[in-house]
Symmetry: C2
Subunit: 310 residues, 2 copies
């Protein structure tokens, strides 16, 4: 069994002074044409070519930014859309990031009835047994989990986290515009996301790391600062994974209350703001051929921005 | 563009007199040892061996039952746990079932913010573009979708359904014991699952097939007959996918009100009750070497049971 990953995440955040995570969500529109064309020349107009372009894109960005950041968050949908070759590129990206010493948060948003959640947990965080061997399907350090099915859909993930010293982030209040449609509905006068937040606190109660934070964290969008403030207090031991900064509209000044007074307790994600930085006017001078250097500069700028508020 | 799949599903249900779906959820404990050992002999103690055993298991069952049933529902977690080779076995199973003329419901329970749901929708129900070609990642006819993120997390799936003549089943009231933890909480005096059910009715309003049912269906567990009755009326045009029959405790007599007065409108899933039938005392005489024949008999018995109540 490896390090306790919530401790490792907090250690790297502190050491690199960087409570940020880079979202490796390689939408086709973000990948420079030259990479796509080269992959198509080699492999034809195939899913394999798309997967190869995605992998080359990720590798260049990771090589350019890994020393600045504690963690990456590949969004599996962006790989899964390219079928089996895409999923293989996801697995390769996870492995490569771990080799570079990064904490890997698989943004998979899985969640099902107990026996099925147990299979997802084994596949993404734990091991499966084949004959006499224990093998790993995928090998993220953390994954995101959807709570709609309740405790018995989440518990199998928590159990594997405890066995493997890994962690999860449970969706509580998501960053998207219509997240309030169900999540904000009042139950006994309190919004559903608070009820879910209380459960997160409970689920994570007996897997608190040496760092003081739990292996069971929460997803709370940067786009909801007032809700973030309430949830921070409801889940004092949860690390909050914060999507929605940048492209989705969340600003650093909105994020002050997502952090605890120790300046820790939150990790802010940026995906397109970093990986597609070369497409922004601000970084256009790098040009598409230097997309990875543009990403590095975007990380440096994001760090300054986020660190100004905590 | 192919047939309208909700029409095709209803056509096959009527023609085969079989409102049932077989859940291809090949948990390792269900796969006969002989199949596992043969795969390990060929491929060693590897993920590839596990995936091969799963594929051989599925193929034998599909060959034994395809003429009796309209649809299968592979649960992707049971494949995903074996990593990339497992996901390849999922893709192969989907393809094979389609070749056999079956409607394939991918039980993937995906759902995310809009742009991410769009990628899942493209990968499972639609196409991705590589160079000048449109390619399919996976190729299910229907998938299951988690609604926790609200309309903008579900809409991309509905849009692709309309373009591709495919369909989804949205989780409304799940079959697991703790489904009520969030789903039953009262909002303005009504449980959350009813609020979600109303949205399902709304999301599916403009993709009603010639059969009278919508491409947007709902998941309602067999374990909640009273809730099923209410939801049937709230979502008159939705086909209800009903898990939880058999092993999870749902009985045929609980299911009467999941069907509309036309005897249609619901499709009842059984997974382990069919694919692991050879492990039940009732079918033990078949022996593990005739597991697929045991599955066929279990389908015949399930059909008689379900058809007795509609």
């Amino acid at each position: 069994m490896g390090k306790n990953m919530i401790d490792e995440l907090m250690r790297q955040i502190t050491e690199k002074n960087a409570p940020v995570v880079v979202g490796l969500d390689p939408m086709p529109a973000f990948v420079p044409e030259a990479l796509i064309n080269r992959a198509i020349e080699e492999k034809g107009e195939t899913l394999e070519a798309a997967a190869e372009a995605v992998w080359q894109f990720n590798k260049a960005i990771v090589d350019a930014v890994f020393d600045l950041i504690p963690a990456v968050k590949p969004q599996i949908a962006m790989y899964e859309q390219f079928g089996v070759p895409g999923v293989a590129a996801f697995a390769k990206t996870v492995e490569y990031c771990k080799e570079k010493g990064l904490v890997v948060i698989g943004d998979v948003k899985r969640g099902d009835i107990g026996s099925t959640s147990a299979a997802y947990a084994a596949g993404h965080l734990g091991t499966v047994t084949v004959g006499g061997k224990k093998l790993r399907g995928f090998a993220e350090d953390f994954i995101t989990v959807n709570p709609y099915l309740g405790t018995d859909g989440v518990k199998p993930f928590v159990d594997v986290c405890r066995e493997e010293n890994k962690g999860i982030f449970v969706l509580v209040k998501t960053s998207n515009p219509s997240s309030g449609e169900f999540q904000d509905r009042l139950i006994d006068g309190r919004p559903l996301y608070e009820i879910v937040g209380e459960k997160v606190n409970e689920w994570g109660g007996d897997c608190i790391g040496a760092c003081g934070y739990s292996a069971v964290g929460a997803v709370v969008g940067a786009t909801w600062p007032e809700q973030g403030r309430v949830l921070r207090k409801l889940m004092p031991k949860a690390c909050i994974l914060v999507p929605g900064y940048g492209a989705q509209g969340g600003k650093a000044s909105d994020l002050t209350d997502y952090f605890n007074s120790d300046g820790l307790g939150a990790i802010v994600n940026s995906s397109r703001g970093i990986i597609a930085a070369y497409k922004q006017e601000k970084y256009a001078a790098f040009g598409p051929e230097h997309f990875a250097e543009a990403s590095r500069q975007a990380v440096i700028d994001m760090l300054a921005d986020i660190n100004s508020v905590r």
